[in-house]
């Protein structure tokens, strides 16, 4: 599904046509509600809409938690590679230790995760289906594993890569409904089966260029299957906390390392900016003031996108480096304001006393001004570091899997946010509380001083 180029407020695509077909069968007018693809399942259960469709993949966990229609389309997970690699990387087995991009939360992502411990490729998760291919062409990843529908659409849209003909796996698209809506689900199944039989689904798929011989075979198999809904995945196990905890802790490690590096950069750059604004001439002060206002006045999400995707034509930053740089330079603007205010809070008479005592300007800064300014800056700095720990979750948009992203993956697979959410909160608190404590202790020590 995609926005209609002629009228971006309207959606179009074969999912839209099938949804309309179902609505007609139910004697209803279809009303399209758009939500983030990863939120379709949670939204349908909340009751935001009755039927969720848009490349929703059939999988055992989905059937455990929701009412799910019969599959209406069979897709193939296909591997896209650069032309130069078309011989080298034919299958996933050829990509051991290489970076393979996909959409987070999909069957393809799960497939990559399952392969990873067995010397498989390194999965790189994206939140949309455009950037994986852009990054493939740009050389940031070595392959993209996604379904053939998305792959072929990207090939038509931008091109520049090769799709391996041998599928890595097959999967099915289904419509998802709230668990309580089994009656509606059964009606949807009846309509879907009837439209398969009378060829109108085939007509829709052909109109969107997604019909091929595998579909013919699949429809025949489906209709021969005499209307019994597969009870697939009933035996599929709910993954336990123990299974996910190592992944969460690893992700927490990423969050912590990322935050520490970004904060170190923010402090150093912040000191430089503050010193430039307090001590520099107008030629230095004006650009620094512009930098601070620009960074503070625009969303950090936008800055991350620009840094990672926008500049990829000039510098191709690795995702982690872009995350450190993006967060660090963003926080540097805030830190510099803290340091500037702290430097300016030191009474002028102390600085003049330093001068009359024969200390150089650099010595006055180092021995008199900075030590006192640091004490004033400590509380707001700690505050910022705690905020940075949490803001680091934003870097999942540039494919870094940190704690929040890992929790989201966990929650999606588990179908519940309760346990993952609590675990995630506990880990964040375990990282931020000792920090606040340390800051309070230092402040106390310095207050008596």
């Amino acid at each position: 599904m995609e926005a209609d180029p002629a009228d971006p407020s309207r959606v179009r695509g074969f999912d839209v046509e099938i949804a309309s077909t179902i609505a007609r069968g139910l004697h209803r007018d279809p009303v399209f509600v758009q939500v983030a693809w990863s939120s379709i399942e949670a939204s349908v259960e909340r009751g935001d809409f009755s039927v969720g469709m848009s490349g929703v993949e059939d999988r055992p966990e989905l059937r455990e938690r929701h009412a799910v229609s019969i599959p209406y389309f069979e897709f193939r997970e296909v591997l896209a590679v650069r032309f130069a690699d078309s011989v080298r990387y034919r299958t996933l087995a050829d990509l051991s230790g290489k970076r393979v991009a996909t959409l987070g939360g999909t069957g393809a992502y799960q497939l990559l995760l399952d392969l990873q411990p067995r010397a498989g490729p390194i999965p790189i998760s994206y939140d949309d289906d455009v950037h994986p291919y852009a990054d493939l062409v740009a050389g940031r990843v070595d392959a993209v594993l996604l379904d053939n529908i998305i792959a072929e659409r990207s090939l038509r849209r931008s091109g520049g890569f090769y799709i391996q003909p041998l599928p890595a796996a097959t999967g099915h698209y289904v419509a998802v409904l709230a668990a309580r809506d089994t009656t509606l689900r059964d009606s949807v199944n009846v309509i879907l089966r009837a439209r398969m039989r009378d060829g109108s689904l085939e007509k829709s798929f052909r109109a969107w260029n997604v019909w091929d011989s595998t579909q013919t075979l699949y429809f025949a198999r489906m209709l021969a299957d005499s209307g019994r809904v597969r009870a697939a995945g009933a035996a599929a196990s709910v993954r336990s906390v123990r299974a996910y905890l190592p992944a969460l802790l690893r992700a927490a490690g990423i969050t912590l390392i990322l935050s520490c590096l970004a904060m170190a950069l923010a402090v150093l750059a912040g000191i430089a900016v503050a010193a430039g604004r307090v001590y520099g001439s107008a030629i230095v002060r004006v650009p620094l003031a512009v930098y601070v206002e620009l960074i503070r006045g625009t969303p950090v999400l936008l800055q991350l996108f620009v840094l990672y995707y926008g500049l990829s034509g000039f510098v191709r930053l690795p995702a982690f480096a872009a995350a450190v740089l993006g967060l660090g330079l963003n926080y540097a603007a805030y830190e510099s304001e803290i340091y500037r205010a702290a430097l300016q809070a030191i009474p002028r008479s102390q600085l003049e006393a330093g001068r009359t005592l024969g200390l150089s300007e650099a010595q006055i800064l180092r021995l008199v001004r900075a030590p006192q300014a640091l004490r004033l800056a400590l509380a707001p700095m700690t505050n910022d570091f705690v905020a940075l720990l949490k803001d680091s979750s934003l870097v999942s948009v540039i494919t870094v899997v940190e704690l929040t992203k890992q929790t989201a993956i966990y929650a999606t697979n588990l179908g519940s946010w309760v346990v993952p959410g609590m675990l995630c909160a506990v880990i964040y608190l375990a990282m931020s509380l000792p920090l606040s404590r340390l800051a309070r202790r230092l402040e106390k020590k310095w207050r008596t001083a």
Partner: protein, 252 residues
């Protein structure tokens, strides 16, 4: 005898307002000179110009043979000699808040003069003892009383052994008993050969401890002489006005 300080016909302005209109004053080694005047007369401006903290427009200032030039305050790198010969005690609290009393005194000795910490500490203890605040050596500025802080600030300014010591309103934070003991400390310093220029509007203090009094009014020194001549016998209108305001509000 060569003067420790020689100020000739100094003009200075702050914005459009001309604060000093030709100030001339000198101080000899071993002498305490009180620069007196009402608030806003320009006493602090004179002191700041001598300490090269503020600019002056014309005239000449020579401290212990070092000549300051009119115009912008030169960079610190060109003031090394001056910094060695002039010490200043500020009116407002200027102790380094993050350092103890003794650290305040030793900071410049170690970092500007390159003394060893041991040498600096020994010298600082001598000064703090002389000034009667040795017991407060490891106290931080916020733990000191106004009088103690004043003495630590004097010890700090004296540590590099300056020829000329400038004190800006040193009695303003002190009660009368403390003023007396401060005066005795300053007399002892003069006896050692230091030249002292003290800005004050405390008539009793100047009368008791100064060798010479200069009255600053409307940006010029209008009268100069021994405390007795100036403070007891003067018929000058500006001096009488200063004396009246001083007896009306002994300290401000």
């Amino acid at each position: 005898m060569t003067q420790a300080l020689d100020v000739r016909d100094v003009h200075a302005s702050r914005g459009p307002h001309e604060v000093l209109r030709g100030v001339t004053i000198d101080v000899a080694p071993g002498e305490i000179c009180a620069l007196m005047g009402t608030s806003g007369a320009g006493k602090t401006t004179v002191l700041r110009a001598i300490a090269a903290l503020g600019p002056f427009d014309s005239g000449s200032i020579v401290v212990d043979g070092f000549a300051l030039t009119p115009g912008h305050v030169p960079p610190e790198s060109k003031l090394r000699v001056l910094r060695r010969s002039v010490g200043m005690v500020f009116q407002s609290q200027s102790l380094f808040e993050h350092l103890t009393s003794i650290e305040n005194v030793t900071l410049a000795l170690v970092h500007a003069l390159g003394w060893t910490p041991e040498h600096a500490n020994a010298e600082a203890m001598v000064l703090l003892t002389t000034l009667g605040v040795a017991a407060r050596a490891s106290a931080y500025p916020r733990q000191l009383s106004g009088g103690e802080a004043q003495r630590v600030a004097i010890a700090r300014a004296l540590a590099p052994d300056p020829t000329l010591l400038l004190l800006d309103e040193p009695t303003s934070a002190l009660d009368p008993a403390r003023r007396g003991s401060l005066g005795e400390v300053l007399r002892a310093l003069a006896a050692e050969g230091h030249a002292l220029l003290i800005s004050t509007h405390d008539v009793d203090f100047a009368e008791a401890f100064a060798d010479r009094v200069a009255i600053l009014a409307q940006g010029v020194v209008v009268e100069e002489g021994s405390p007795r001549e100036v403070l007891s016998e003067s018929t000058h209108a500006d001096t009488r006005a200063l004396l009246r305001s001083s007896s009306a509000e002994p300290s401000s």
